[in-house]
């Protein structure tokens, strides 16, 4: 009886499992295999030109200056972008949730709109907004008497501009989740706090934030995993420049894999990135667990 039930269960799960195995597990295993070879354009000509190189690709990656630069850029993007996104989401959610707010529906839609726009299209628009000579941002700064900045041409400013764009593009999604979290906080807690004489700031610090802990944790994790895969923004806006200051690990992998067909090396880069994002996630989960948020 029990085994028949188990069989039925497997049968129901089978379609999904097969899809996962064929479209996820197999390609991942194939890529892992590829990362131990020097698969390149010559191997495409004849598999006789394919050599098994063991861990050599990984050693090459770890010794590649450009990889560390790309990793540094990616970590910069994650370390600044994730807290900013979560903070923006929290701020927007609090504003939209506030009892004082008017036209809540309108603001929710307006703040969520960037999420549903096409990334390439808005990235091109941002590129023009931040153009040094003609961009409207510098025009506005000029009206305030501020000297125009070379937003996307200065190696120190390009990544902050990309971060700004990513935060603007993505915070709406996190805002919706935080909003749901806010709505789940029982009203009595605030009532009790008010009776005890707590003002708005103390209510936020001692009720809203602790109650939102698990939600913020989830939002932070999701955003972080997504931000580790930075690619489309620099691809469209800066092509990784200036001076590789916006080159991400994924972009480097794309260069190696699809521009030069060094698929072995590109696979190795992918797995190294995987290890790094796994480690970062693990750290965040550990932190959350200590606070009881996971």
């Amino acid at each position: 009886m029990k085994s028949r039930q188990a069989l039925a269960g497997w049968m129901f799960a089978a379609p999904a499992l097969i899809v996962i195995a064929v479209f996820f597990l197999l390609p991942v295993l194939a890529a892992l295999g590829l990362s131990f070879t020097d698969f390149d354009i010559y191997a495409l000509a004849s598999l006789k030109n394919l050599r098994f190189v063991g861990l050599a690709n990984y050693l090459v990656v770890l010794r590649m200056g450009l990889f560390w630069k790309a990793l540094g850029n990616t970590l910069y993007f994650v370390a600044v972008g994730v807290p900013l996104s979560v903070a923006a989401a929290l701020g927007a959610a609090l504003l939209v949730h506030s009892r004082l707010a008017r036209w809540k529906g309108f603001f929710r839609v307006a703040l969520f709109t960037p999420v549903v726009t096409n990334l390439v299209a808005v990235a091109v628009i941002w590129k023009y907004l931040f153009q040094q000579r003609y961009g409207v941002v510098n025009y506005a700064l000029g009206a305030l008497g501020i000297h125009p900045l070379d937003w996307l041409g200065n190696p120190h400013l390009a990544m902050p501009t990309i971060i700004l764009f990513a935060v603007w593009k993505n915070f709406g999604y996190a805002m919706i989740i935080v909003l749901a979290g806010l709505q789940a906080i029982p009203g009595e807690l605030y009532e009790a706090a008010r009776l005890d004489g707590a003002g708005a700031w103390r209510q936020l610090r001692h009720i809203t934030l602790p109650m939102l802990g698990p939600t913020l944790m989830t939002v932070g994790l999701l955003t972080m995993v997504g931000y580790f895969q930075l690619f489309a923004e620099p691809y469209v806006i800066t092509e990784g420049g200036p001076l590789q200051s916006t080159l991400s690990v994924l972009y480097l992998m794309y260069n190696q894999g699809f521009d030069w067909w060094n698929l072995g090396l590109a696979s190795a880069i992918a797995f190294v990135l995987f290890v790094f994002s796994l480690a970062a996630t693990w750290v965040l989960v550990r932190l959350g667990r200590r606070k009881g948020w996971v």
Binding site: Y42, Y134, E239, D259, W260
Partner: protein, 429 residues
């Protein structure tokens, strides 16, 4: 991940396409040639081949247009899936790679027997860029070489009535222009993410940036270092802005506004300038050969462009060759020039009245005689991109010339490791 899933779909599509390869018409055998062409040429090729079909009623040509950005990946996937066309337009720098893959066939036999394709009539550098391991794999279709576009009026205002001819003369002119420039304007535009300018300058020096049969980098020579030093002076002396081409909103408009007096680019820019620049400045711009290190006689440049190739998989190689011969006729190349603005690769075509009178094309004609082929290896583009990345760092002051060229050699040697192994095992044509 996404491309890997796309690949099978592409292959199926391509197989379906190639399936129509030998369809027998009821009245007799009709040969269908599949011809892949890119971008603008792809659009115009369909018109050009009509005349060929009239001359050869038993051959039908199906032109498929590929966007340039996707063309390289599509050729490689077609090769992997065994669904290559009969004949294709191919950027010169891709030919060594396709030859290494044994995807395309040498054409020496056809060329030797041909009365139309006569190698001596072609510009030598252009012809050579199709020769890999002593065999010709392509017939040049149109050419491109990078030279200078300049604003006559801005030069005149600074006291110059002719374009620069030597590097030293160019440097003097740039310094004078810088002194005359309005704030925010520059003497020249050389985007830091384009490798062609530095490669062009280095080709004006004797020798090559690769050595020992293109097995190792050769950037640390006095010749290349001189080219790099001159290139870097544009940025170090403040003649050109340190920007990538992604930051230039529109070159014709900025050029028209006088933000730049010099620009280094190729023949397609003639049409861009002619159509996009306002009428008021149309008489103020001109083209000139790239200044040479020691004067006009030392001028050179990249022998670039696109060629026509025949794929190994083709079952109609003879018919494909007939099409190549047709497209190589001076009269057809003249028509092609009028349709696309592309410049023809052979002197006979340049003798036709239309192009001979074109004032903007004349500078190209002069430089094409001296343009040199770049190294013909599959890794070429990866090497020059790496070179440019390092040159950009030097332009920003992160590296000096000695450090930069040492780094270029080190990176290039690493990129060429597999090629050395292939050569040592006799696996390259």
């Amino acid at each position: 991940m996404r491309s890997r899933r796309l690949l099978p779909v592409l292959l199926v599509l391509l197989t379906a396409l190639a399936g129509g390869c030998t369809r027998a018409a009821p009245g007799g055998r009709i040969v269908v040639l599949h011809f892949w062409a890119m971008g603008q040429e792809g659009r115009m090729a369909a018109r050009l081949v009509r005349g060929f079909e009239r001359e050869h009623p038993h051959i039908r040509v199906e032109v498929q247009q590929l966007p340039w950005t996707a063309a390289h990946a599509k050729l490689l996937t077609a090769y992997a899936g065994g669904t290559t066309p009969d004949i294709a337009q191919m950027g010169n720098t891709w030919i060594p790679e396709m030859a290494a893959l044994r995807a395309i066939v040498p054409l020496d036999g056809y060329i030797a027997a041909s009365h139309i394709v006569t190698p001596s009539d072609y510009f030598p550098g252009i012809w050579k860029s199709n020769v890999v391991g002593g065999k010709a794999y392509g017939v040049p279709w149109y050419v491109d070489t990078r030279l200078i576009f300049y604003r006559k009026d801005i030069l005149a205002a600074a006291g110059f009535d002719h374009p620069p001819r030597s590097w030293a003369g160019w440097a003097r002119m740039l310094a004078a222009l810088k002194a005359h420039a309005r704030p925010g304007d520059w003497a020249a535009l050389l985007p830091l993410n384009e490798f062609e300018q530095l490669v062009s300058l280095s080709l004006e020096q004797p020798g090559s940036f690769l050595r020992d049969g293109d097995r190792y980098g050769n950037f640390q020579t006095p010749q290349f270092q001189a080219a790099l030093r001159f290139y870097l002076s544009f940025f170090r002396d403040g003649y050109a802005p340190r920007i990538d081409n992604t930051q230039v909103a529109s070159v014709p408009i900025e050029f028209a506004r006088g933000h730049y007096a010099f620009y280094v680019s190729g023949p397609w820019m003639i049409q861009e300038f002619a159509t996009l620049m306002p009428a008021a400045v149309q008489n103020d711009w001109a083209t000139a050969p790239l200044p040479g290190p020691t004067g006009a006689a030392s001028n050179s440049g990249i022998a670039g462009g696109a060629s026509l190739v025949i794929f190994r998989n083709s079952r109609h190689r003879a018919a494909a060759w007939q099409l190549i011969e047709y497209l190589s006729r001076p009269s057809v190349q003249d028509a092609f020039h009028r349709l696309t603005g592309d410049l023809p690769p052979r002197r006979a075509s340049w003798a036709r009245p239309d192009i001979a009178r074109d004032p903007y094309a004349a500078a190209f004609r002069a430089q094409l005689e001296r343009a040199r082929a770049v190294p013909r290896i599959a890794e070429y583009e990866q090497i020059v991109r790496e070179m440019q990345t390092i040159a950009a760092r030097a332009a920003w002051g992160e590296l000096d010339v000695t450090q930069a060229t040492a780094l270029m050699d080190r990176k290039t040697d690493a990129i060429l490791a597999k090629r050395r192994w292939m050569l040592a095992h006799g696996r390259l044509p």
